[in-house]
C-alpha cells in the first residue's frame, strides 16, 4: 500500500499529495495503469459484441443472396445490387411520410393536451383541492396499463367511430398513450418550479394565453424536448397497434413495412438485409446526432420518476 497516512495532518483533514494531480489513482501507479488497460480492452470487446449484430446485417446487405447461404465472409463478392433491388421494391418515401405524418400529429396533440391538463393540475386553484390531486392520480394510473390490453378495445372503438384503417385509427390511441407519461414529467417539473414569476406576470396583466406562451413554455423547454423525443421514438417503433389498425399497405409505417419483409423478400436475403439497413441507418444517424437528448428522453422516466 502507498503511504497514505503521510498525506493527513493532525486534524484528520486530507492534504493533497505533493507533485501529484488529484486525479492520479492512489494505488501503485504501475498496477493501476495495467488494470486500466485491462478495463479498456474489456470495454472495447463488450461494445464490439453489442455492435456486432448490426455490422453483420450491413455485411450481408452487400452480399449476393447465394453467398449468404454459402460463404458470407468473402469480401471480394461485395455488390450493391441488393440496394438497387430493395429501393425499387420498397416504398421508402411512402412509409417514412406515413410515419412522420402520424408521429407529427399524435406527438403534437399529445404534448399540447398533456401540457394544458398538467398546467391546470398544478397551477390552477380548484375549489376542491382534493379533486385536483385525485385527477392527477387518475391520469398517472395510466402508466400501469400495458398497451396490449388496449389493442382489441381500441380496434372496436375505431370501428364504431368509423376511423378503422385510416391514419386517425392509430393517431387517436397514440395521443392517449402519451398522456400519462407526459403528465408525469410535466406536473413533476411544474410542482418543483416556483410560481412567483407567473404571479408577477399576472399582476402585470398577462392573460392565460400570454402567461403560458411568454413565461411558462420558455422555462419548460428541456422537459418538453424530453417528452417530444420519447414520444417520437415510441411512435416510430410502435408495432402492435399499427399491425391491427392499419390494413392498407399504402398507409403502412416503417415498423409495419419491416414486419412484412420476410414474406415480401422470401429467400432474397440480400434484398431483405439491404432493406433492413435502409431503415436502420437513418435511425442510427439521427440517434448519433441527438445522442444526449435521446438518452435523456428514454431514461427520463427511470431517472426522474
Amino acid at each position: 500500500m502507498t503511504t497514505i497516512s503521510g498525506f493527513e495532518n493532525g486534524l484528520g483533514r486530507q492534504v493533497a499529495p505533493p507533485r501529484r494531480s488529484p486525479l492520479t489513482p492512489r494505488t501503485r501507479p504501475g498496477r493501476a495503469r495495467r488494470s486500466l488497460w485491462a478495463a479498456g480492452i474489456a470495454a472495447y470487446i463488450v461494445i464490439f459484441l453489442i455492435v456486432l449484430p448490426l455490422l453483420w446485417i450491413v455485411l450481408l446487405s452487400f452480399q449476393p443472396s447465394d453467398r449468404i447461404l454459402g460463404n458470407p465472409w468473402s469480401l471480394n463478392t461485395l455488390t450493391i445490387d441488393n440496394y438497387t433491388r430493395a429501393i425499387k421494391q420498397l416504398p421508402l418515401v411512402r412509409m417514412y411520410a406515413n410515419t412522420i405524418l402520424i408521429a407529427l400529429v399524435s406527438v403534437t396533440v399529445g404534448a399540447v393536451v398533456s401540457f394544458m391538463a398538467s398546467f391546470a393540475l398544478t397551477r390552477m386553484v380548484f375549489r376542491r383541492p382534493r379533486l385536483q390531486s385525485a385527477l392527477r392520480v387518475y391520469v398517472l394510473a395510466g402508466l400501469a396499463v400495458p398497451v396490449y390490453v388496449l389493442l382489441f378495445p381500441v380496434y372496436r372503438i375505431d370501428l364504431t367511430l368509423g376511423v378503422f384503417g385510416t391514419y386517425l385509427s392509430v393517431i387517436l390511441p397514440y395521443i392517449a398513450v402519451s398522456i400519462p407519461f407526459n403528465t408525469l414529467l410535466l406536473t413533476g417539473f411544474l410542482r418543483e418550479f416556483p410560481a412567483e414569476l407567473e404571479e408577477a406576470a399576472i399582476i402585470d396583466g398577462a392573460g392565460l394565453w400570454r402567461l403560458c406562451r411568454a413565461i411558462v413554455l420558455p422555462v419548460m423547454r428541456p422537459v418538453i424536448a424530453t417528452i417530444l423525443i420519447f414520444n417520437v421514438v415510441y411512435v416510430f417503433n410502435e408495432f402492435p397497434f399499427v399491425s391491427i389498425l392499419i390494413n392498407n399497405p399504402q398507409l403502412a409505417t416503417v415498423s409495419l413495412a419491416v414486419s412484412r419483409f420476410q414474406g415480401q423478400y422470401s429467400v432474397d436475403y440480400g434484398g431483405m438485409m439491404a432493406a433492413a439497413t435502409l431503415v436502420l441507418v437513418p435511425q442510427l444517424a439521427i440517434y448519433a446526432m441527438l445522442q444526449r437528448q435521446v438518452i435523456a428522453g428514454l431514461t427520463a422516466g427511470a431517472v426522474k420518476g
Binding site: I68, E198, V279
Partner: protein, 290 residues
C-alpha cells in the same frame, strides 16, 4: 394564481386530455374486463359467463401455461443476467478509458432500434441454417443448435435478444446512479486500504440499492411487453411452443378471434403490470421521502 382559475378555464384545459385518456385508456380497460367475462363473438349478443374464460385458460389450455412458463424463463434468465451485467458494464465504462463516452453511446444504440427490426436482425443471427451464431460455433469446431424454431431453446434465445437490446439502457441508468454517488465515502475507504472489489461490494452496491430496484422493475415491465421478437423470430411456433403471454393473447384474440379468452389473458397481463407498477411507485415515493 386564483385570478386565472375561473372554473370554465380549468374545465377547458382539462377537457381534451381527460377525454382522450378516458376514451382510449380507461374505457378500453373496462371494456376488456367486461369482454373477458363473456362469450362475445364479435357480433350479436354477448352472454355473461362469469370466470369461465379464466378457468378454461387455467385448466384446459396447455398453450397458455407454455406461454406463462416461457415468459417466466425470459424473466429469470433475461433480468437475472441483465442486472449484474449492466451494472458491471456501467462500472467498466466509468473508468478513464479512451473514448468511454462514445462507448456508452454505442452501448445504448440497440435501445432505439425498433423492436420489429431487432427481431428481423436476430433472425439472421439465430437461424439454425443461415444464422451467424451457428456459423461461428461450427467454425471453432463446436456443434450448432436450433436456437429458434425448435422445441426448447427459443425462450432462452429471446432472453438473449432481450439482453442485447436492453443492456445499454440498464447500463445508462446505473451510470447515472453512479454519478450521483458521493465521492468522500469511497475515498475514505480507499485511504483505509479497501480494495476496489471491497469498495464495490460493501459501499457502492448498498448505496445504490434503490437504483438496483428501479432497474429490476423496469426490466421486468419490459419483459412483460416482449411481442415483436416472438412475432419475427418464430411467430410463436412450432405449435405455440415459443409464445409469450402477450404474443399468445394477440394470437387468441386476432388470429383465432376468441375474444373472451383473449381478453382474459389481457386482463391477467394488466393485473401483473399493475402489481409491478404499484411496487415501482411505492419505491419511488419512499425514495423521495413522501
Amino acid at each position: 394564481m386564483t385570478w386565472i382559475s375561473a372554473r370554465w378555464k380549468i374545465c377547458l384545459l382539462l377537457f381534451p386530455g381527460l377525454v382522450f385518456f378516458t376514451g382510449f385508456i380507461v374505457w378500453p380497460v373496462l371494456y376488456a374486463a367486461w369482454v373477458s367475462l363473456t362469450d362475445f363473438a364479435g357480433f350479436g349478443q354477448a352472454h355473461f359467463v362469469g370466470l369461465h374464460n379464466y378457468l378454461m385458460l387455467f385448466t384446459t389450455d396447455p398453450f397458455f401455461w407454455r406461454a406463462v412458463v416461457n415468459t417466466f424463463i425470459i424473466l429469470v434468465v433475461g433480468v437475472g443476467i441483465l442486472v449484474p451485467a449492466s451494472f458491471a458494464l456501467a462500472l467498466l465504462l466509468r473508468q478513464r478509458i479512451a473514448g468511454a463516452g462514445a462507448l456508452r453511446a454505442l452501448a445504448f444504440g440497440p435501445a432505439i432500434v425498433a423492436p420489429i427490426l431487432v427481431g428481423l436482425i436476430w433472425v439472421f443471427i439465430l437461424d439454425p441454417r443461415i444464422g451467424l451464431l451457428n456459423r461461428v460455433l461450427e467454425a471453432v469446431g463446436l456443434p450448432g443448435a436450433q436456437w429458434i424454431g425448435g422445441n426448447t431453446l427459443t425462450p432462452y434465445a429471446i432472453a438473449l435478444v432481450f439482453i442485447w437490446s436492453s443492456i445499454g439502457f440498464a447500463m445508462t441508468i446505473f451510470y447515472a446512479g453512479l454519478q450521483l454517488q458521493p465521492h468522500d465515502v469511497t475515498e475514505a475507504s480507499q485511504i483505509d486500504g479497501a480494495t476496489a472489489w471491497q469498495r464495490i461490494r460493501y459501499i457502492t452496491i448498498p448505496m445504490m440499492r434503490e437504483t438496483f430496484a428501479i432497474v429490476t422493475i423496469l426490466l421486468v415491465t419490459n419483459v412483460m411487453k416482449i411481442f415483436e421478437l416472438v412475432y419475427m423470430l418464430t411467430g410463436g411456433g412450432p405449435v405455440h411452443r415459443s409464445e409469450t403471454l402477450v404474443s399468445y393473447m394477440y394470437f387468441v384474440t386476432f388470429t383465432n378471434q376468441k375474444y373472451g379468452p383473449g381478453m382474459a389473458i389481457a386482463i391477467i397481463v394488466f393485473l401483473l403490470g399493475a402489481v409491478i407498477s404499484g411496487g415501482y411507485l411505492t419505491l419511488m415515493r419512499r425514495g423521495r421521502g413522501e
